[in-house]
Amino acid sequence: MHNTRSIFQREIRGFFNSPMAYIFLVIFSIFNGYFFTSTFFLYNQSDLRSLFSIVPMVYLIFVPAISMGLIARENNIGTMETIATLPLKTHEFILGKYFAAVALILLGLLATIIHFITLVKFGTAIDYGALFTGYIGLALVGSMYASIGTFASSITDNQVIAFIIGVFIVLVFFLMGFFLPLVPANLAGIIQYISVDYHYSNISRGVIDSRNIIYFLSVIGFFLAMTVQSLESRRWK
């Protein structure tokens, strides 16, 4: 646990020692702010639905961008060897990296609180429950994409390749739901279950169902386990 924390702290420090974190937070806020306010007053509804529908799309690019360097960079500059020969378990290292990416995403979400304040100021009959679960949903989607990005970062030492692979896998999960009408009926159930949108829309509507939570946690678990495998296998090459 303390090893995971050391990795986590180093990574967070790394984010803020470079322009990385600032660029992410500023552009993430501008994007979300623009798309949110451009429709918020138009719809004239007391909710954050437009925010909750735009953030998962902004994630598609931003989360792979945050996580592309997590492990690929260590491989690239050679510090992976230092890390791997410290008394540190592979999963502790990966969790530290992963949590750092998640923390930055949550910080980005925190910045959208400003829209929440706008809503509270101007809205009436606000459904705070749905807002709360909406944020839970965003956090879960972000965490899931971060696990995919972490995995993508572990299979190469080139950050650009890690980014492209990350975006690709994330897109597969994101777009799956849109292909639903095209697949045979007997596969539809599976496709629907794999699709992020299905689980996310349930949660952001205000329904917290354990099935949806289990979905997110198992995808995260799967990709983190794959990351461990990918790093362990390097030792055997």
């Binding site: 790394g14 050679g78 060897e81 230092t82 791997a84 020969t85 410290l86 008394p87 378990k89 090459k237």
Partner: protein, 314 residues
Amino acid sequence: MIKVQDLSKNYGDVQAVKSINFEIDDGEIVGFLGENGAGKTTTLKMLTGYLVPTKGNVEINDLNINDSALEIQKQIGYLPELNPLYPEMSVYEYLEFIARVRNITGKSFREALARVVERCGLQGVVHKLVSSCSKGYKQRIGLAGSMIHDPKILILDEPVTGLDPNQIVEIRELIKSLGREKLVLMSSHILQEIQATVDRIMIIHQGEIVANGTNEELMSSFKGNTILNLEVRNANENTLKDLSIAVANINVVEVNEKKDHHVIQLEYSQETDPREDLFNYAVNSDWVILKMTPTTTDLEDVFRKLTMEGKADA
């Protein structure tokens, strides 16, 4: 103590290390010498748990690398080849990070920091960014990181490569002083870099250990001929011609006539010493000896000889 038995590593079809064996005792400084690609780095990576051996056994302080890699990693310090560092961190942050992972915090960290800063001569750069330090300082930062937990065993992969001569001397002195209390295993592909530092040299060639011993042991096991340069005045054709007949066991390689003296190059086997006979002959022939310099085969020749083997048929 490091004990390596029958250690092998294959990369696909390529055998990088071919069942090597060696032992290193506490307090020894051992140089691991070989050309680029001879298997040095692969071996060191297996010792430190970065790579899993294809076959064989590594025991460090009676712990087996296959069962207790983490425990071994707690006890050794390792400076990887090319000394990877995080350029965006300050020296302090880097050392703090390494120490934290090694569970050294608070007061014990401050003590450890003071020790390695003093030891590695990092005063003055502690709060600088790693990226703004010179190569020599980076090397010391890497070293400081590898010894922040005061390990009994230090494994250094090419610690002086790429440094300028003054820096090489500094790092060499540092390693020598460390060797008084620690086991140090350092690799190099340049003999001169380690010859002056280590107690013992292991030469690895094409994945096999081809020599293992002290400077003197290696040289005596590869006895070559001694070359003697003789400068004399008053020599003439006849006395020069008779030289190889009058003095036993020598071979005159060449004679050069200079303005007012002759330079004679002789060769004789290391078991014999004809210098006294040469002196007597010179006196009898009215020569004046200006200079007499024997040069024995040096370690460089041994190294070259060992690592050239197999080149022709490769």
